[in-house]
């Protein structure tokens, strides 16, 4: 097989017009990949600070960005998400949307409010701050 190998080695590794950076681009993660973003809200903006005493700032955070193909190991997405992605990419049905970037985990929020009767309430509410995103 010496001849075969040497003839293979003679061949150019890549066509002359090949662009290496273009080739590697497909392996880069999308710039705006699905991830957590901050959204700092102060209750005074909503003019609710007269009865929501604390916290002064509330950052519910939100998930935004494109879902890459390899959603499984990065986001713990179920296989269904990859199936949906394939259907979307192959345009088998244009009513099937691309998988969405949504919150997967939340943390609670403690709120101190003045009630209409003038009493004061400290309450802890579930699922008020997004802490992790996923693709579904």
């Amino acid at each position: 097989g010496k001849e075969a190998v040497s003839s293979e080695l003679q061949k150019p590794l890549a066509p002359a017009s090949f662009n290496l950076s273009e080739y590697f681009r497909q392996f880069l993660f999308p710039q705006n990949e699905c991830e957590l973003h901050d959204f700092r809200l102060s209750f005074s903006q909503l003019k609710w600070d007269s009865w929501i005493v604390a916290p002064h700032r509330y950052n519910p955070r939100y998930c935004k960005g494109d879902c890459p193909r390899a959603v499984g190991h990065r986001y713990g997405s179920p296989v269904h998400t990859m199936v949906q992605n394939i259907i979307y990419e192959k345009q088998l049905d244009d009513s099937v949307p691309r998988p969405s970037c949504v919150p997967a985990k939340y943390s609670p929020l403690s709120v101190l409010t003045v009630e209409p009767d003038g009493s004061i309430a400290y309450k802890e509410y579930e699922d008020m701050i997004a802490t992790k995103c996923t693709c579904r």
């Binding site: 909503l46 009865w51 209409p116 003038g118 309450k123």
Partner: protein, 289 residues
């Protein structure tokens, strides 16, 4: 075609919503008032700007609750994980009717305070009472001996306006109570949990309380401190509650669930091991582990 029409509708309603005031976003479709279906927090948000005007809270009570908030939550409002209590709600009520200013008798140290009426309408049916205290506030010039031993007699009355037909005899309860002297706050807490438990559980929402506390002073106290006048603000009522609704945070519950060992895949459900002893053995080994 359906998708594009649907997207057009979504875009149109999004435009409408963006111009609306934030609290109207909480309306249910068709304009029906959604406040009754909303969780308490959104109900508060919903009632806020357009709801009934709010009564101003007592400034001393507000100061106490702000310090309680700092003790339980971070600046961002995240509940601190080092808390060991089961309650996820604390409500502070100031008495809506007090007959006269409470005072402290310099000789016996008796703190005398007459009838107080607390309106507990804000306590919801899903909030279960865990602990309740009367919170006495000492103004700055007061120096109550920290070693004082107080005995409080609480008399509970049916308010005149109550619906009960026969006026019930007043109850008398005596408490051997070590008030919690928190030097930093100058607050004294008198535990009244056993007194209020049956009332809050029976949805009684207006509570008429008359409290007489007698504190035996520490004889080592400097004479000047004994003679200083003590004027007491009538106590507020503090309820520590566990909100059992799905919107409330049950941190102790999720902590407990984290501790229980995760089920191995083969062990899920009885069908995996039909014979009883297998599960007993499984349970024994898990228990041992």
């Amino acid at each position: 075609s359906q998708a594009s029409r649907g997207e057009a509708q979504i875009a149109a309603s999004a435009e409408l919503e963006s111009e609306a005031e934030p609290w109207s976003l909480l309306q249910l479709p068709g304009g029906r008032d959604g406040s009754s279906l909303l969780s308490p927090f959104f109900k508060v948000l919903y009632d806020g700007p357009g709801g009934a005007p709010r009564l101003q809270p007592d400034s001393v009570a507000l100061r106490y609750m702000k310090r309680l908030y700092k003790a339980y939550a971070t600046k961002e409002g995240i509940p601190k994980s080092n808390r060991s209590h089961l309650y996820n709600t604390v409500r502070l009520f100031t008495p809506s009717v007090q007959h006269k200013q409470a005072s402290v008798d310099q000789v016996t140290g008796a703190m005398r305070s007459v009838g107080l009426l607390f309106n507990l309408d804000r306590v919801t049916a899903v909030e279960h009472l865990l602990k309740s205290v009367l919170l006495y506030t000492f103004n700055d010039s007061v120096s109550l001996p920290s070693a004082a031993q107080c005995v409080c007699h609480l008399v509970l009355k049916e308010p005149e306006s109550s619906s009960t037909t026969l006026p019930r005899a007043p109850h008398s309860f005596s408490f051997e109570s070590q008030p919690v002297f928190r030097k930093k706050y100058k607050w004294v807490e008198v535990d009244v949990t056993t007194l209020l438990q049956p009332l809050v559980a029976s949805d009684k929402r207006s509570i008429h309380v008359s409290v007489n506390c007698t504190c035996v002073k520490d004889q080592l106290q400097a004479p000047s401190a004994r003679d200083s006048p003590c004027s007491l603000v009538p106590p507020s009522l503090l309820l520590y509650l566990n909100d059992t609704s799905t919107h409330a945070y049950h941190g102790w519950y999720s902590l407990h669930h984290k501790r229980s060992p995760p089920q191995a895949p083969g062990r899920r459900g009885l069908s995996a091991c039909p014979t009883g002893e297998e599960t007993a053995k499984g349970a024994r080994s898990r228990h041992r582990r």
